[in-house]
């Protein structure tokens, strides 16, 4: 039972990391968009891809939680 608690804690930690990363990435993208509105589509594409990579880390943690769940 306590393993499940640890898994939830680990998922939370992973989410913290992803959250920080996403915040940083999107901050940069927003700044870039504000400076160069004409480049918004390109920046958006790159931002979404980057966000997907960052988010994937939490998703891996999420999947492993379900694999390891007691």
């Amino acid at each position: 039972m306590e393993t499940n608690g640890l898994l939830a804690l680990g998922l939370g930690l992973a989410a913290i990391g992803s959250g920080l990363g996403l915040g940083k990435a999107i901050e940069g993208a927003m700044t870039a968009m504000g400076r160069q509105p004409e480049a918004i589509p390109k920046i958006q594409t790159a931002m979404i891809i980057g966000a997907a990579f960052i988010e994937a880390l939490t998703i891996y943690a999420f999947v492993s939680v379900f694999v390891l769940k007691a």
């Binding site: 594409t45 891809i49 994937a56 999947v63 379900f66």
Partner: protein, 338 residues
């Protein structure tokens, strides 16, 4: 916009469908051992369902489901599982449980193929119908997206990639139709099949474009000077490994996101139902009536999140496939598109 595009897309849709189903079926065979547990859990849960006579949402069955499942997690009941369990009996339901996603994928692919074929047949250059405008908008914007990454090569790969996007989007959105459908992408078999398709296609493109020698040279990091050749000994296994990881990460990302959304919705449904039952139980509602009552709609806001997430994940899968293909093309590393 060429006149032929939607028709081509439809043809490739049908082809991709066959591939997905074949790969999904193969994956299902291999997953048999794991899924047997899921099947048992499901049958148990179906019993609970009948006993409770739940019409809209599931109550206590949910808990039993989650517990007995272990690794497989939550899936809300859908029309097919309920119908099969109630009409054909639990044995058939158990037998068909492994193939639910195949049935759904088949339905989705048929709908897409018929939709685009029907549009492709009745194309008009002047005064296009609304549906034709819609289809042209889909195909046109997808094509623009691919052209921004692949450049002039986009035309070659647009049919496959466009099919991928539309198929994944439709599969994701299937999950948020209330009362009865499951997102096909929340089964790892389906996403793995899609990932493997992209992997095989990328390797095929690489070998066809670069030749066997150039293909291996690409994996060695395209060394030019002597020192680079020495380093290529280290780079080669890393590149091969990262190439092999790509389909896994692609499919796990899609699976995890959609599965997460589905789980969230299932948990919220369970929360709403159990809270309602608790409150009504306090008020002294008789047991027989209790099972028929729906819960609080706690899960509704999460449909909006699921809507956004489904679209973004379909886009991400497609964009990453596009980039993997772009990396395989002769000048992929220079980012020729921009």
């Amino acid at each position: 916009m060429s006149k032929r595009d939607p028709r081509r897309l439809a043809t490739v849709c049908a082809l991709a469908l066959v591939l997905v189903l074949a790969a999904g079926g193969a994956a299902a065979q291999q997953h048999d051992n794991q899924d047997e547990h899921a099947g048992h859990g499901h049958a148990e849960e179906a019993h609970a369902e009948e006993a409770h006579g739940e019409a809209v949402d599931r109550g206590h069955g949910d808990e039993a489901h989650g517990d007995s499942h272990g690794g497989s997690g939550y899936h809300l009941d859908n029309i097919v599982t309920l119908l099969i369990a109630n009409i054909l009996g639990n044995d058939t339901a158990e037998a068909l449980h492994d193939w639910i996603y195949t049935i759904y994928a088949l339905i989705v692919a048929l709908i897409i193929a018929i939709f685009f074929m029907a549009i492709g047949r009745g194309l008009r250059d002047r005064a296009p119908t609304r549906v034709q405008m819609f289809a042209e908008m889909i195909v046109g914007s997808l094509y623009d997206l691919f052209r921004s990454i692949l450049g002039d090569q986009a035309r070659r790969f647009a049919p496959y990639l466009g099919t991928l996007f539309i198929f994944i989007l439709a599969n994701n959105l299937l999950g948020i139709i209330p009362l009865g459908f499951a997102a096909t992408s929340s089964f790892v078999n389906v996403t793995l099949a899609l990932g493997l398709m992209t992997f095989c296609y990328t390797q095929y493109v690489g070998i066809k474009e670069l030749g066997i020698g150039g293909y291996l040279y690409h994996f060695a990091g395209q060394p030019k000077s002597g020192i680079e050749w020495v380093f290529s000994i280290i780079i080669f296994p890393i590149e091969v490994l990262s190439e092999l990881i790509k389909p896994i990460s692609l499919s796990l990302r899609l699976f995890g996101n959609i599965f997460g959304e589905e789980t969230l919705i299932a948990v919220m449904v369970f929360l709403g139902v159990s809270l309602m039952q608790f409150l009504l139980g306090l008020m002294g509602t008789p047991e027989g009536v209790l099972g028929w009552l729906p819960g609080f709609p706690f899960h509704v806001p999460f449909y909006a999140i699921a809507l956004i997430g489904s679209t973004v994940q379909a886009l991400v899968f497609t964009l990453l496939s596009t980039i993997y293909i772009a990396l395989m093309l002769p000048h992929g590393h220079e980012g020729e598109a921009h």
